[in-house]
Symmetry: C2
Subunit: 304 residues, 2 copies
DNA sequence: TTGAAAGCGCTAACAA
DNA sequence: TTGTTAGCGCTTTCAA
């Protein structure tokens, strides 16, 4: 292009206040420079941090991020996946509900760029970012057993839907406690919807053999546990010790400061986005069904 | 359409596995059935809740939501606005940085559907959703003065950028305290970046006349305050009373339970989305520059 | 170097 | 009721 035409062009752009239309561009190029993320619930701190990390990378690459809230409802998830595809989104990062296996199967067969976060889906070959949940549960079990608590209670959201992190953490925690040679410790389990949790705790604590330690599976269950202990005026850790997975904003200045096992949410989100972008930009390189585990960190404080 | 052709059509859809292409549709219709939200920082609980409310309404209306993180940087905000427009997004909900007045001005002149959240921008005629910040500050001041604390300290993020909620809350709090007839109370102010806050608190508390009450302007400053008090082993409320704007997840079961002034984030987000959709669907009705204030709620607990 | 034209997949208007 | 066609704004190819 000659210098002359260039200035002419720039002038015209200026005068007409020309704004390119990316929709037309997308139609032609078959790329929307947009990716979609389907989270179970954006209100979880973990989801927020993951979204933030993904969004940062999108910004860097001049992409946009469409955020969808599946609310753990397969129906909603399905609708979102279809809408995202119809909008020619270049790739999807999902916290899969597990209720749309056939649909996900189809997407992978079409070679649609996709990454799963936090959860695996049985039988699907999709790259997945997970916490090393066994390690997290082991860290919790060891910490409680080393301090010689005698009656451990695991508090968890529903274990019935085969949600990866819950199942893996629960299994490993139970295994660890039972593996112990002396078999002198008691282990109780509470699992159910958040709204029923306090009632279940109440029941457990009315029994003769009260737990002296609680393992809260995630941030929301931790809230329930702390709220319950407060209501019952139970002291941490003298009456009951507490340890949990997921870092919470107040852990360090709670009374007492809470021992937690945190997951590197930002790095995990960033990694998911990096993999997705490598799929989008170099589709031939897709090797699919890689599972990448991130290490949890024990933050030893004073609640156990 | 006859019944016969209908079944034929459905069959064809099935066979060819036809998926409509919304990009082509958007190009023709000049509507992307997508809206954009530009938040200052998605990591704030308030932003998350607002996004959640907007997303819920989008889902209902078969729209999609593009989430952008401006990080309070006008440059980043500008890029996002331009990208969103280029993508023919049907409307924008923004937490404006205040650094792109001309650009926003242009958008309103074009009749581009837009709603501001949380912050106003001087001289712009844009519908805006705000908290009744004066009321919130007054609630805090009254609560502390009624309990007869003598040396009040207001802790705030930087007041230099004219960010609406900060300015309004600060002004009203100061006014309320000074209005008192006896003038016997002392008032200190700390304002600055989060990372400098602990140092400033330290300094203040080393002085002879120690504050006996703190008003934390939002959730992040509250974190700093609580963290500082914990470190200094200062008891709430016997050594220092605490009250804050923004509800935090742990308020009810903290030791002591925290008195907070909460804003109805979900309703505010929902309202913003409703207004935006009314602009999009009935553009003739736009009356612009309406300011809608929501009432804060005092949650009286035990920290003051 | 510049200009012209085809076509992405859809919708809307018109014709048959 | 059904079929045909123009055109949305861009990119890409080919011709001038």
């Amino acid at each position: 292009m000659s210098k002359e035409t260039r200035t002419k062009l720039e002038q015209a752009v200026e005068e007409l206040n020309y704004q390119p239309n990316m929709v037309a561009r997308s139609l032609k190029q078959k790329s929307s420079t947009t990716i979609g993320v389907i989270v179970a619930n954006i209100l979880h701190v973990y989801s927020t941090q993951v979204i933030r990390a993904i969004e940062d990378l999108c910004h860097e690459k001049d992409f946009h991020l469409i955020v969808c809230n599946a609310d753990d409802q397969p129906e909603k998830e399905k609708k979102y996946i279809e809408m995202l595809k119809a909008k020619q989104v270049d790739g999807i990062i999902a916290f899969p509900t597990g209720g749309n296996v056939a649909l996900y199967q189809q997407l992978t067969e079409e070679g649609y760029p996709m990454v799963f976060m936090d959860r695996t889906v049985e039988g699907l070959k999709v790259d997945t970012i997970l916490l090393d949940n066994k390690k997290a549960a082991a860290l919790a079990a060891d910490e409680l057993m080393n301090k010689d608590y005698r009656h451990l209670t695991m508090v968890s959201p529903p274990l019935t839907h085969q949600i990866t992190p819950r199942v893996e953490r629960a299994q490993e925690f139970i295994k660890k406690v039972q593996e112990e040679d002396n078999h002198t410790r008691k282990l109780s389990t509470i699992s159910g919807e958040i709204r029923e949790m306090k009632g279940q705790l109440q029941e457990l604590f009315q029994q003769k053999e009260r737990p002296d330690a609680i393992f809260a599976m995630n941030d929301l269950t931790l809230h329930e546990v702390l709220s319950f202990l407060k209501k019952e005026k139970l002291q941490i850790p003298s009456d009951v010790a507490v340890i949990s997975v997921d870092e919470v904003s107040f852990a360090a200045f709670y009374t007492p400061p809470l021992t937690t096992i945190s997951q590197p949410a930002f790095e995990m989100g960033k990694k998911a986005a990096e993999i997705l972008f490598s799929f989008i930009l170099e589709p031939e390189k897709q090797h699919r069904s890689k599972i990448i585990r991130f290490e949890p960190t024990l933050n030893r404080r004073e609640s156990c």
